[in-house]
């Protein structure tokens, strides 16, 4: 069974990669399995300087999902390039850097910093992190802002850019078209839905940040819908994510129009989630009549 997929900048041996923020920089999960098994690795968000992030509690459990408000904690792009990229480069796996920021300048700074290393293969432009207060949210909900940041980052970077879309919008197709026109090489969708949990005991929002991003199986139908809609209006490839926890889920995303997928929250339930899904994928594809990943992409659309 041919699981390989070729995307701008990425020769994937299979379509499954861990989602940004759910896999750190790979060190922890490298203690569970060989990271070379993965289709790619998407690193945790990088910002211009190191950030501590939000105060705790930062996560809450919800029905079939979780809320998180980590707040982009990371050591800053320079330390990531110096300390984390070399570690991942030791594995036979493409590396995608997740680029975040609060200002246009910060996005450009982070993106161009990755030009220095030959070991990063693509950027995932995180214009949608719902937990950044200073302005990150606007980039992800206004088509023009999203287009602007995409353009600037494309100019600054010599890597393919996958723009990660927020689902917290009224018109996801407008966002997708805007960033495609601005030069995005691909899309990554979806990021988390903004949610909240109130703690009955304290009578206050449970997360110190009050709101957090909803992820996990609960959001899968929203992700599938958005990918399906966007697929009908753009021609750049989509990395799909949102609640994937099985090879069947992967196929559902492929049918909806994703060319590859990322697995986030499921890693927390099962640290072997990614290799387990990769191992199960050939049989699932076969069961539903596919002889490769490529042929399944977008097949949910044909009449």
């Amino acid at each position: 069974m041919d699981l390989s997929v070729n995307l701008p900048g990425l020769k994937l041996k299979n379509p499954v990669m861990p989602a940004s923020g759910c896999f750190g920089f790979g060190r922890e999960y490298s203690e569970f399995y060989d990271l070379g098994k993965l289709g790619a690795v998407i690193m945790k968000a990088a910002t211009g300087e190191g950030r501590y992030g939000n105060t705790t509690p930062r996560v809450a459990e919800t029905s079939s999902g979780m809320l998180n408000a980590i707040g982009l904690q990371n050591p800053g792009v320079e330390k990531i390039i110096a300390n984390e990229v070399p570690f991942l480069a030791g594995y036979d796996v493409p590396i995608i850097a997740n680029v975040a920021g609060s200002t246009l300048e910060e996005y450009v700074k982070v993106a161009s910093a990755f030009n220095k290393t030959k070991d990063v293969h693509a950027l995932e432009l995180n214009i949608s992190c719902p937990n950044v207060k200073e302005g990150g949210i606007q980039f992800g909900t206004e088509p023009e802002m999203a287009a602007t940041v995409t353009k600037k980052v494309k100019e600054a970077s010599n890597l393919p850019v996958y723009v990660k879309l927020s689902p917290n919008v009224g018109n996801i197709v407008a966002m997708a078209k805007a960033v495609e026109q601005a030069g995005a090489d691909g899309l990554s969708m979806i990021n988390t839905l903004t949610g909240m949990q109130i703690h009955l005991g304290s009578k206050r929002p449970l997360l110190a940040n009050k709101t957090g991003g909803l992820s996990g199986q609960a959001i899968k139908p929203v992700a599938i819908r958005m990918i399906y809609e966007v697929k009908q209006h753009v021609s750049i490839p989509i990395i799909g994510m949102g609640g994937i926890s099985s090879a069947e889920d992967v196929l559902e995303f492929l049918l909806a129009g994703a060319s590859a997928v990322a697995v986030g929250t499921a890693n927390f339930q099962n640290p072997f989630a990614c290799p387990d899904i990769i191992a199960a994928l050939p049989e699932v594809l076969h069961k539903y009549g596919f002889h490769s990943v490529e042929v399944a992409i977008g097949k949910g659309h044909e009449a």
């Binding site: 923020g21 509690p57 930062r58 927390f268």
Partner: protein
């Protein structure tokens, strides 16, 4: 490489108010666990795992004991597990109480509520290594007290209850003044207690075990950080902890 760990429930017993003692069999865990480590347990129907300290191990029989309070839905569901059922676990996780490299003569264990369990495993180990153990254990009420007999076997044990319904009345810090002659303290319990203990025993070296809501439980998600006096400015409770030198973390 870390393994998949499946544990089999061997026994489940209510040992105090809403408090369950559960014995789980798995050789890997029982052989490798050190005091202070925890298990990250997958409870059926829940999207996040539950971190629960290892309270005791019998390496020979391959049995690990956990003690937990039925607080929310996850621990209630776990408490309803029956012998023979399987639990997927991550662990033994985190870093335990360091004691071997210190030349400790006498150790003070200070536990509050569900912070008591990891101290039992520690106390037993210390005892086995010929280190004298004094325990101060705080509970809300008489109904909540557990493992008094077990700790008493290890050495002098003081029970404190918030309402005085058993043992001393008040907080664990109330009795700390009357205890002396120990080299190190080891404590685990609610944050306000840990803060009070740290302050009261500021002149003593000590180790504290912390709790925080966790995502991954392996160090990948940054859910469980605590501000720290180190270069990065933080430590991860699930990976760098849950045990930290008292002076390293900022409570």
């Amino acid at each position: 490489m870390k393994q998949r760990v499946e544990m089999i429930v061997e026994a489940v017993e209510k040992i105090a108010l809403d408090t369950v003692e559960m014995k789980l069999s798995n050789d890997h865990v029982a052989k490798n666990a050190v005091p202070g480590q925890f298990l990250h347990l997958q409870v059926e129907g829940h999207s996040l795992r539950r971190p629960i300290s290892i309270a005791d191990v019998d390496a020979e029989k391959g049995i690990t004991t956990i003690l937990f309070k039925e607080l929310g839905e996850g621990t209630k569901r776990l408490g309803a597990y029956q012998p023979g059922m399987r639990i997927n676990a991550l662990g033994p996780s985190g870093c335990g109480f360091p004691y071997q490299d210190k030349s400790i003569q006498k150790a003070l264990l200070i536990g509050g509520g569900i912070g008591v369990p990891p101290l039992y495993n520690l106390g037993k180990e210390l005892s086995n290594h010929g280190i004298e153990v004094i325990s101060v254990l705080g509970f809300q009420t008489k109904d909540s007290v557990f493992y008094e007999a077990e700790f008493s076997q290890l050495g002098e044990t003081h029970i404190v209850t918030d309402d005085g319904s058993y043992g001393h009345k008040g907080f664990v810090t109330n009795v700390l003044g009357s205890i002396d002659g120990y080299d190190y303290y080891f404590t685990c319990g609610p944050i306000p207690m840990l803060k009070a203990v740290k302050e009261k025993l500021a002149d003593k070296p000590g180790y504290i075990s912390l709790e925080e809501r966790m995502g991954c439980g392996v160090g990948a998600c940054f859910a469980c950080v605590i501000p720290a006096d180190n270069e990065s400015g933080y430590r991860k409770i699930c990976k760098d902890g849950p045990v930290f030198p008292a002076n390293e973390v900022i409570l």
